[in-house]
């Protein structure tokens, strides 16, 4: 059995999480529920749960405050439940922390619970929460860290500038780092491509996305992008203009 706590300022939200967990995830017992941060931290400290369903925004703070107030003394896994994720999407995704959107659909809930259950059972690292809080407190995306769950079960925490480019590799994504290291992430290339789209990255073709700072030269006629490392990648003619525009107008 996995002991869980639900923290949400809306009663309806708490009720529906509890209702759904009771219905679809019998292995999870709900130890308690809290309606704000302070209450949540108190109850986490009291119950020491293994899993916490956290609302992002509450009257007296955010889910991050709850994490900051309890971790790393109390090791638990967290699942964010929010109605609107946009604001903190990168922070959460970069640290590979689970996120369920309201209104909650059964599949996402089951998938998240399954993943968490596995992590709890394997005694996985709680490093992602440190990364989460560090990213949260940092306003500059360049300084953010990315926690990549590798296909082999490893976790790699890298800084964003360390990435040279990423490439599709079957259902997974291959990270080419400036150090020459290669990481095959468990997530798909599309997942990262969406995540990086708003940052200083550009998808030069269907399979590859490069970090702009690594571009050495754009060779139009031959349709090549030359990276600082010497790597040459293909780029379609239409995307060359796009890329030029993005490079000359960074924001």
């Amino acid at each position: 059995m996995i002991k869980a706590i639900i923290i949400d300022d809306e009663r309806n939200s708490r009720d529906i999480i509890a209702l759904m967990l009771g219905k679809y995830c019998p292995e999870i017992t709900i130890a308690d529920m809290a309606s704000d941060c302070a209450d949540g931290i108190e109850k986490i400290k009291a119950h020491r749960p293994e899993l916490v369903f956290l609302d992002l925004e509450m009257p007296d703070g955010t889910g991050f405050d709850v994490l900051a107030g309890t971790l790393p003394d109390i090791p638990f896994e967290a699942v964010f439940v929010t109605a609107f994720e946009k604001k903190f999407l990168h922070v959460i995704r970069f640290s590979d922390v689970e996120l369920i959107l309201k209104p909650i659909d059964k599949e996402s809930l089951l998938q998240a619970v399954a993943l968490i259950t596995e992590r709890i059972n394997t005694g996985g690292s709680k490093d992602r929460y440190r990364v989460l809080l560090e990213n949260f407190n940092n306003s500059k995306p360049v300084a953010w860290q990315l926690l990549i769950p590798a296909i082999n079960g490893d976790q790699h925490t890298i800084k964003i500038p360390a990435i040279e480019y990423l490439e599709i590799k079957g259902d997974n994504c291959l990270f080419m780092l400036n150090s020459g290291e290669l990481i095959t992430a468990a997530q798909s290339f599309r997942y990262y491509a969406d995540l990086f789209a708003s940052l200083q990255f550009y998808q030069i073709n269907n399979n590859q996305m490069i970090q702009l700072s690594n571009i050495s030269r754009l060779d139009g006629p031959s349709g090549k992008v030359l990276l600082k490392s010497g790597t040459t990648l293909d780029i379609s003619e239409k995307r060359q203009r796009d890329l030029l525009h993005k490079m000359t107008h960074p924001h």
Binding site: D9, E10, R11, N12, S13, D15, I16, L19, M20, E57, P59, D60, G61, T62, D65, T82, A83, F84, K86, K87, F88, L101, K102, P103, I104, F136, N137, S139
Partner: protein, 694 residues
Amino acid sequence: MKRIILMLLLYCYTAGSFANVDHTPVDTLIADTAFAPANLDLRPFIYVLTADQQHLTPEQAAAMPFTRQENIFHNNPKNNGRVNNCWLRLTIKNQSNKSLSCHLFSGWHDYMYWYSQSPGDKPRQLMQTGLMLDDGGVERWAHYAFAVQVPAGGIRTFYLHVVNKSYNEGPLMPALFSTEAYSAFRDYQLNGFRKEAVVIQVLLGMLLVFFSISVINYIQLPDKSYIYFAVYILGLILFFALRLEDKPYQLSFFHRWPMLKYYWDIPGLLFCFYLMYLLFGNAFLNLTERYPFMERAFTWVAAIVGGLIILCLYFIRIGQYQMPTIIYSYVYFVTLVPLLAVFVALARRSRHHPLVRFFLYGSVCLYLACLGSFLMHVRPLGLLSALGELAAPTILLIGGVLLQAMFFLAGLSYRNKLVHLERTRTQELLIKQLNKNKELQRKLNEQLEELVKEQTTEILRKKQELEEQRKKQLETEYDKKLTEIELKAIRAQINPHFIFNCLNSIQLFVMQRDYEYAQKYLSDFSYLIRKTLDFSRRNFISLADEITYLNTYLGLEKMRFENRMEYEIVVDPVIATAELEIPAMLLQPYVENAVKHGMTNPQQPTGKLSIYFNQVASDMLECVIADNGIGIARSKSLRMLPKHHQSSGMEISQNRAELLNKMYNTEIHIEIIDRSSEDESSSGTIVKILIPQL
């Protein structure tokens, strides 16, 4: 001189009995005891030696033969046509027993020497005198009565050497006077000459006055004609002052230089009546401009006269006294007709130039006076002698001179007046011109001002056009921005959180099988979304719509928060909610904020939200959104989110209000008050939004 002549004539007539009766020549005048001559005509007793050019000593002369020449004697001035150098001899025998003491007088001549000879003795000079010689004071006139003294019973021979270098000779009529008789004669003469002297002195005084006037005038108005006039008057003054030298027994000024009167006799007349007259006329009439020909003639004649004056002076210097007179006669007669012609020419023009009239009158006066004087001389003296007396200042001539001087002076004054008038006119003209200039300047200024005004208007118009263009540009820009903000507003104002939480709630009701509640929730939610989509496309909505919208929204929120909040919307009954318009979606963010913060107050179990719509002025709607939360200040301090994560709903609303203000030139005013800042015991936030009615 005329008077002298007349007097002599008178004497001649009274004493004529002798002369006429006894014409037999007598070698020796016998004076007996009763001899007391009174103007005794000595002609029968006098033998004459005409020496002509010879220079004889008295001894030589005595040795020469004397003859009787009655023709050399004359009672009137006479032009001899030569130098008269003659010796007169008179022998007197005193038969009485007392010595004879008489005076011989024979007129006034240039050089006179008086000798007395005792029998067997050499002639001894007793006296020398003469108009050219004697430089004594007034007493010199006594020298002309030569002493005739013969001791009792003695015989004396007297020689009178007379030299008249100038051809014009005064009366030469020897007469003998006893001492008493001479004294009477002298008194008579003195009286007669005194009158003449007085006339001349008065004339001198007047001329001096004229001279002073012209000098003063010249100082005031430096004009050449004044100088010429002054010099002319000065010349006349000198001339007449020298004429006093000829007046026997009278005081005179220049007796120390007896030759001066000869030097300034004819030359003075030439100088005054011709040279200065011409120069004066030239300058006075401004002939250069008016009659250039006359001016040339005047200048030439003046130059010639100047030359003649020098010539005259030279002749006098070498003793040719007759030459100046001749020259003057010629000049006089030669210029008579031309002058007349000049007068006629001037007279024809005098109508146009008043100055000419003055000049003309003056000139004609002198001209006629001269002519009259001359003619008056012709009859008694004969033509030749009259010519010699041309320069003689008769009373007529003096009158003419005076008249001329007065006319000239008057002319000068008139000229002064003319100059003054002209100056005044010039000044007036100048003033007029200045005024005209001023007028012109004023007009120019006006034109300029008008131009400037026009251009200013043009500039203003262009500026306005530009401003309008800019306004349009700004408007389009605002429109663009507004669209952007509105797009943002849809996302921000209806908080996605709210939407999904609503959906979450509906999901819960469905799961709990509370279908009625779910139905109600869903329809309210749908209404809200529809209205949001609708309003976000419009800038203004009616207050009624806004109130309904807020009611629905707050109802949904209330359901979400399990009735942990209460709300009220109070509308001032005077407000016509359906007609009054307010900017769409302006209030919602503040209401949402109030809901959010109203729930966070640990002291207040129930959040209370009040919305008031008040008509604070005829065209001003006030909207007050008040909650009883922790207040904006504490809420901000409690905010734990890093700055870059903060929400911006209210900020967007504020921006929108500013945009609306700019676009519609209105004054939407938003004020956010923390209640605790006014009253420590209460808490919460009040948002006051003032919306002017367009």
